[in-house]
C-alpha cells in the first residue's frame, strides 16, 4: 500500500545525497591537469550551449575560479544545474578525446560544478533599451531567454503558472541530482538582474494576446503537459500515478512526507523513468520494476542511467506492454502485462504480441513514465501558432514562431530534451528577439 516513506530522516538524507560529491580543490586541480586543452575542442562543440570547456578547466588548473565561473555562466546561466544533471556521458564527456587515449574522459561535469559552486553567477544588465519582453514559463528556456535579454538591456517580466519558479529544473529532476534549494538559488541569481518572475500567473490564449499587445515581444517557454496516459482499464485506481507528480513531491516537501509503495512498477524506460525508479528505491520501496515494450538497446535512458538503476537494485522487464491495472476496492493491486517480440532488425523492428503471454505482477504503486504530451488545448487555441506534430514550430536560428513578435524554445518546441538544450534555445530566441527589436543580436 502507498504510504509515507518508512525511512528515517537520516537514511533519507543519505539516500538523496549528491550523486557525485563536490570536488575539493586538490581533486579538482588534479582532474583539471588531465585535460589536454584541445583546439576546437570536441567537448565544447558537443555542448549544446558551447561552453568553452578547456578554457574553464585551465582556469581551474590555474586557480582562476572567478574566470572559470564566468566562462561557464556567460554561455549557460544554468551552468550549475547542467553540471549536476547534464547527460555528460553523451555530450561533453562523450566527446572528450581522453576516451580514446585513456578510456576515461575528463570529469567535465564535476569540474563545472566545482567552478560554478566556487563563484556565484553575477551579471550586470546591459544599457537600457526601453524595450519590454514578456517571457511565459520560468523553466530553463524561459529564464535563459530572460537572462540574455536582460544582458542585452531589455526589460523582462516572466509569467509562471506554478507557485514555484524553475519549471522542470526545480521540480522534474531527481533530487539527488539537483536539490530544490540549489535550483532556486540559481533562479535568485537571475532575478537579481532585475527580472520580475510573477508566480501563479497562468497564461491562456486570451492572456497571450494581451501580452503580445502590451509587450514588444513575447517568448513562449511553456514546456510540455502531463505524462501521457496508457488508455487502459484501471488507470484511475488509487496507486496509479505519473512520473512528474512522483518526482515533484521530493521537491515540494521534505523527504519524510513523500509517498511510495512497497512494490513499485515504473512504466517506460526513458531517463525520467530511471529518476522515478531510483527515487522510489531511495524512498524505501522494497521492489522496483521497470517495464518497457522494447529492450535495453532501444530505450531512451542513457547507458549510465541504466547502470545507476541497476546499481540501485531496480529490476527490468523487457518486451512487455501493460494491458490492465488490477485493483481491489478502488486500490491498485497489480498490473497485467502481455509479452511482445521484435520482428525484424534494428530500429525498424516491429513489435508483435506473443499470443497467450498475459501475466500479472503484484504491485501497490504504478508510475507512468511515458514522456509528456504537448499542451494541446493551449497551443491549439493560441494565436496562429504553427504546430508540427504537437510541437511549436520555430526557426531554429532565431526562435521565431512565424507569429509577429512571438518567439519560442525549450521542450514545447522539441517534445522534451535536456536542460542544456532549453538554455541554448532561450539564448537563441533572446538574440532573435533582439534583432527583431532592432538590436545586433549578440553580446
Amino acid at each position: 500500500m502507498i504510504q509515507k516513506t518508512l525511512l528515517t530522516p537520516d537514511q533519507l538524507a543519505e539516500n538523496f545525497a549528491d550523486l557525485h560529491a563536490a570536488y575539493p580543490r586538490d581533486e579538482a586541480v588534479t582532474e583539471s591537469s588531465r585535460c589536454l586543452f584541445c583546439f576546437d575542442a570536441p567537448c565544447t562543440r558537443a555542448c549544446p550551449t558551447h561552453i568553452d570547456v578547456p578554457r574553464f578547466i585551465r582556469q581551474i588548473l590555474h586557480d582562476n575560479m572567478a574566470g572559470a565561473a564566468e566562462t561557464i555562466f556567460s554561455e549557460n546561466i544554468f551552468g550549475g544545474s547542467c553540471a549536476r544533471a547534464c547527460p555528460t556521458e553523451v555530450l561533453c564527456e562523450g566527446a572528450c578525446v581522453d576516451n580514446t587515449l585513456l578510456n576515461e574522459p575528463v570529469q567535465i561535469g564535476r569540474l563545472q560544478r566545482y567552478a560554478t559552486d566556487s563563484t556565484p553567477a553575477s551579471f550586470t544588465p546591459g544599457p537600457v533599451t526601453g524595450k519590454r519582453i514578456a517571457v511565459v514559463g520560468s523553466g530553463p528556456a524561459g529564464l535563459s531567454c530572460a537572462y540574455t535579454l536582460r544582458r542585452l538591456g531589455h526589460a523582462v517580466t516572466v509569467f509562471e503558472a506554478s507557485d514555484i519558479a524553475g519549471g522542470l529544473n526545480t521540480l522534474g529532476i531527481a533530487a539527488y541530482k539537483i536539490t530544490t534549494e540549489f535550483s532556486l538559488s540559481e533562479i535568485d541569481a537571475i532575478q537579481a538582474m532585475d527580472i520580475e518572475i510573477r508566480l501563479g500567473e497562468y497564461v491562456d490564449a486570451v492572456r497571450l494576446e494581451e501580452l503580445r499587445a502590451s509587450y514588444d515581444a513575447v517568448f513562449l517557454g511553456i514546456g510540455l503537459g502531463p505524462t501521457a496516459n496508457l488508455e487502459i482499464p484501471g488507470e484511475d485506481l488509487g496507486g496509479v500515478t505519473e512520473a512528474l507528480e512522483f518526482i515533484a513531491q521530493t521537491h515540494t516537501g521534505p523527504f519524510e512526507e513523500c509517498e511510495v509503495g512497497q512494490n513499485v512498477v515504473v512504466i517506460g524506460a526513458g531517463n525520467t523513468a530511471i529518476d522515478v525508479a531510483t527515487e522510489a528505491v531511495r524512498l524505501g520501496a522494497e521492489n522496483v520494476l521497470i517495464v518497457y515494450r522494447r529492450t535495453s538497446h532501444e530505450m531512451s535512458a542513457f547507458a549510465y542511467e541504466y547502470e545507476l538503476a541497476k546499481a540501485d537494485g531496480v529490476k527490468f522487464e523487457w518486451l512487455v506492454r501493460p494491458i490492465k491495472f488490477l485493483g481491489e476496492n478502488g486500490v491498485l493491486s497489480g498490473l497485467r502485462l502481455q509479452r511482445l517480440e521484435l520482428v525484424g532488425e534494428g530500429r525498424g523492428a516491429m513489435l508483435q504480441v506473443i499470443p497467450d503471454s498475459t501475466f500479472d505482477i503484484a504491485c501497490d504503486m504504478a508510475i507512468k513514465s511515458l514522456g509528456q504530451v504537448a499542451l494541446e488545448p493551449f497551443l491549439s487555441e493560441a494565436a496562429d501558432l504553427q504546430l508540427e506534430g504537437g510541437k511549436v514550430g520555430i526557426d531554429a536560428s532565431t526562435g521565431a514562431t512565424g507569429v509577429d513578435g512571438l518567439f519560442s524554445g525549450g521542450d514545447c518546441t522539441n517534445k522534451g530534451a535536456e536542460i542544456v538544450d532549453a538554455v541554448q534555445d532561450g539564448k537563441i530566441a533572446a538574440f532573435g528577439i533582439d534583432v527583431y527589436l532592432g538590436g545586433l543580436g549578440s553580446l
Binding site: 586541480v29 588534479t30 583539471s32 591537469s33 589536454l36 586543452f37 584541445c38 583546439f39 576546437d40 575542442a41 570536441p42 567537448c43 565544447t44 562543440r45 558537443a46 555542448c47 588548473l61 547527460p87 556521458e89 553523451v90 562523450g94 566527446a95 572528450c96 578525446v97 581522453d98 576516451n99 580514446t100 587515449l101 574522459p105 531517463n271 538497446h297 532501444e298 530505450m299 531512451s300 535512458a301 542513457f302 547507458a303 549510465y304 542511467e305 530500429r347
Partner: protein, 474 residues
C-alpha cells in the same frame, strides 16, 4: 616510443646481471648511484638507511669548522599543472652540526659499510691553514674521498666560500692546490653552474690538481612570489634570498655542462654528474655524455631513498638489453655527438608524419604549428555520418539509443594532415602530441645538398657555391 623502450630481458633469472660497480677518480662503489651532498646526507642515521636501501655511495653534507645557524623556512617548489616539484630550491646552508659530531659519525658509517663510497663534502674559510686542518681531520675518519664545495650559491658565498670560490678560476685553483698539498684521498671539485663558461673553472680545478669534478651544483633562483602577501617563496619572516635551484627541471642545463667538460681536451677529468636525476634514463643520459657516475638529491627529498631500486633495476635491464657488461662500456658514447651548430648538416631534413589510426583529434599539433611554428598542418572536417563505427581513432558507444563518438562534436571531427612540402621538421607537433606513437619525424630528401654551415661559408667566400635561398612558401 623513441628511446624509452621497455627492457625486460632480465626476467629470465639465468641471464647474467651486468656489473654496476664503478670507480670514479679511484673511488670504488657497488653502483654508480651516489647521494649528493645535501639534506639526505646530513647524518649517519640517514646515510645508513640509504646504504641499506641500495645506494652505492654518498657525499656527506658539507661540513665546516663552525656549525652554522639555519633559517626557517628553507625550501621552495615549482609545481607544473598539478604535478609537484618539477623544480626545487633551497636556502639551507652547510651542516648545522659540530665538526666533531660529523667526523665521529663519518668514521662509524665507514666502518659499518666498508664497500660503499663515502665522500665528504668540505667548505671552510679560504685560508690554507683552515683547509689543511679540515682535510686532515676528515681523512682520519677513513672516508674514501673529499668533495670541495665550490658551488653553493647562497649564504656561504656571501662569506667568501662556496660559489664565491667556484666563480673565480684563480681561487678555484688556489684552494684546490692547498687541499692537494696534503690530501691522501681523491679530491673532487664540486662546480657551480652560475658562471658564464664552466670550462674555465674546470680547467682551473685541473690545474690545481683535482682528481675529478662534480657538477652541477644548484642554480641561482627565486622560486616565486606569493600573490597575497607579496612575500618571496620561500620566505623568512617576509624576506627571501636567492636560493639554489635543482630538480627535474634543471637536468638539461646540467647535461649541457657535463658534455662541455667531457668534450674539453683541457679538462680530461672523471666527472660525477648531477642535476635533476630522477629516473634511470636520466642517469644513463648523464653517463652517455661522459659522467662516470651520478649523484641524486631532489628525487630522494621527494620520494625517499627507495627510488634507488628503480634506478638500479632500470639501469641493469637497459645494460642487459644493450649487452653492456659494465658501466664503462657506455660512458661517454654520446659526448662526441655534440659540438658547434656550425658543424650541423644543413642538408639533413625530417618532416612530420601523422598516423591517422592513433590520432585522438585533440588539435594540439595543429594549433602549435599554426601559432608557434610554420603553419604546415591542415585541418579538415570529417562529418560524423562518414565515420565508420570501427575507426580506432574515433571510438563510439551507444547510449540512450544514440551513437556517441569521442573526438566528435557538432557533427564533425577534425582531421589533421601534415603539409610535408612546407614542414620544416622542427619536431614541435611530435612534442606536443599526447599519443606516444602518433606523430613521427621521418627523413626526407632535402633541396639542400649535404653541407655544414662552416663549409658553406668557406665555399661561399671562395665562390664555389651559390647562396642558398629560402623556398617560395617562406
Amino acid at each position: 616510443m623513441a628511446g624509452w623502450g621497455l627492457y625486460n630481458t632480465l626476467t629470465d633469472s639465468s641471464v647474467q646481471k651486468p656489473d654496476l660497480t664503478t670507480t670514479l677518480a679511484g673511488i670504488r662503489s657497488p653502483n654508480p648511484f651516489w647521494l649528493a651532498s645535501a639534506p639526505p646526507t646530513n647524518s649517519a642515521y640517514q646515510i645508513c638507511r640509504a646504504f641499506e636501501a641500495g645506494w652505492g655511495g654518498a657525499v656527506w653534507k658539507t661540513i665546516g669548522h663552525d656549525p652554522i645557524v639555519n633559517v626557517s623556512s628553507r625550501y621552495g617548489s615549482i609545481d607544473y599543472d598539478g604535478r609537484k616539484m618539477m623544480g626545487f630550491n633551497n636556502i639551507e646552508l652547510i651542516t648545522d652540526r659540530t665538526l666533531e659530531t660529523n667526523l665521529e659519525e663519518i668514521a662509524d658509517v665507514k666502518k659499518k659499510f666498508p664497500d660503499h663510497a663515502l665522500v665528504v663534502s668540505l667548505m671552510v674559510e679560504s685560508t690554507r691553514a683552515a683547509w689543511h686542518d679540515v682535510v686532515k681531520r676528515t681523512e682520519d675518519t677513513g672516508c674514501d674521498g673529499l668533495e670541495l664545495n665550490f658551488g653553493c650559491p647562497h649564504g656561504m658565498s656571501e662569506r667568501g666560500m662556496g660559489s664565491a670560490v667556484g666563480q673565480v678560476p684563480e681561487y678555484t685553483q688556489m684552494v684546490t692546490e692547498w687541499v692537494k698539498e696534503i690530501a691522501q684521498t681523491p679530491v673532487l671539485i664540486k662546480l657551480t653552474p652560475n658562471v658564464a663558461d664552466i670550462r674555465y673553472i674546470a680547467r682551473a680545478a685541473k690545474a690545481g690538481g683535482a682528481d675529478g669534478l662534480s657538477l652541477i651544483n644548484t642554480i641561482n633562483s627565486i622560486m616565486g612570489i606569493d600573490l597575497d602577501s607579496f612575500n618571496p617563496k620561500p620566505h623568512v619572516a617576509g624576506r627571501g634570498s636567492h636560493g639554489g635551484y635543482c630538480g627535474p627541471a634543471v637536468k638539461p642545463i646540467a647535461l649541457n655542462m657535463v658534455q662541455q667538460l667531457a668534450d674539453d681536451p683541457e679538462v680530461g677529468l672523471p666527472l660525477s654528474g648531477m642535476g635533476g636525476v630522477q629516473a634511470w634514463q636520466d642517469a644513463i643520459e648523464f653517463m652517455l655524455l661522459g659522467a662516470g657516475n651520478v649523484q641524486v638529491c631532489t628525487a630522494v627529498m621527494h620520494y625517499g631513498f627507495r627510488i634507488v631500486e628503480h634506478l638500479i633495476s632500470g639501469l641493469e635491464n637497459w645494460m642487459a638489453s644493450k649487452n653492456y657488461a659494465q658501466t664503462s662500456d657506455f660512458v661517454g658514447l654520446s659526448a662526441g655527438k655534440l659540438g658547434d651548430w656550425a658543424d650541423l648538416d644543413l642538408g639533413y631534413k625530417v618532416v612530420a608524419e601523422i598516423d591517422q589510426e592513433t590520432c585522438i583529434h585533440c588539435g594540439l599539433c595543429y594549433i602549435a604549428c599554426e601559432d608557434g611554428a610554420h603553419q604546415s598542418i591542415d585541418m579538415t572536417r570529417i562529418e560524423d555520418s562518414t565515420i565508420s563505427s570501427d575507426d580506432p581513432s574515433l571510438p563510439s558507444f551507444l547510449s540512450g539509443g544514440q551513437t556517441v563518438f569521442a573526438g566528435v562534436g557538432d557533427g564533425y571531427a577534425n582531421r589533421f594532415d601534415i603539409n610535408q612540402e612546407t614542414c620544416v621538421g622542427c619536431n614541435l607537433c611530435s612534442l606536443v602530441c599526447p599519443v606516444s606513437t602518433c606523430i613521427t619525424m621521418v627523413e626526407k630528401e632535402s633541396a639542400i645538398p649535404s653541407i655544414t654551415w662552416r663549409i658553406y661559408q668557406e665555399k661561399l667566400q671562395s665562390g664555389k657555391i651559390e647562396r642558398i635561398m629560402p623556398p617560395d612558401h617562406v
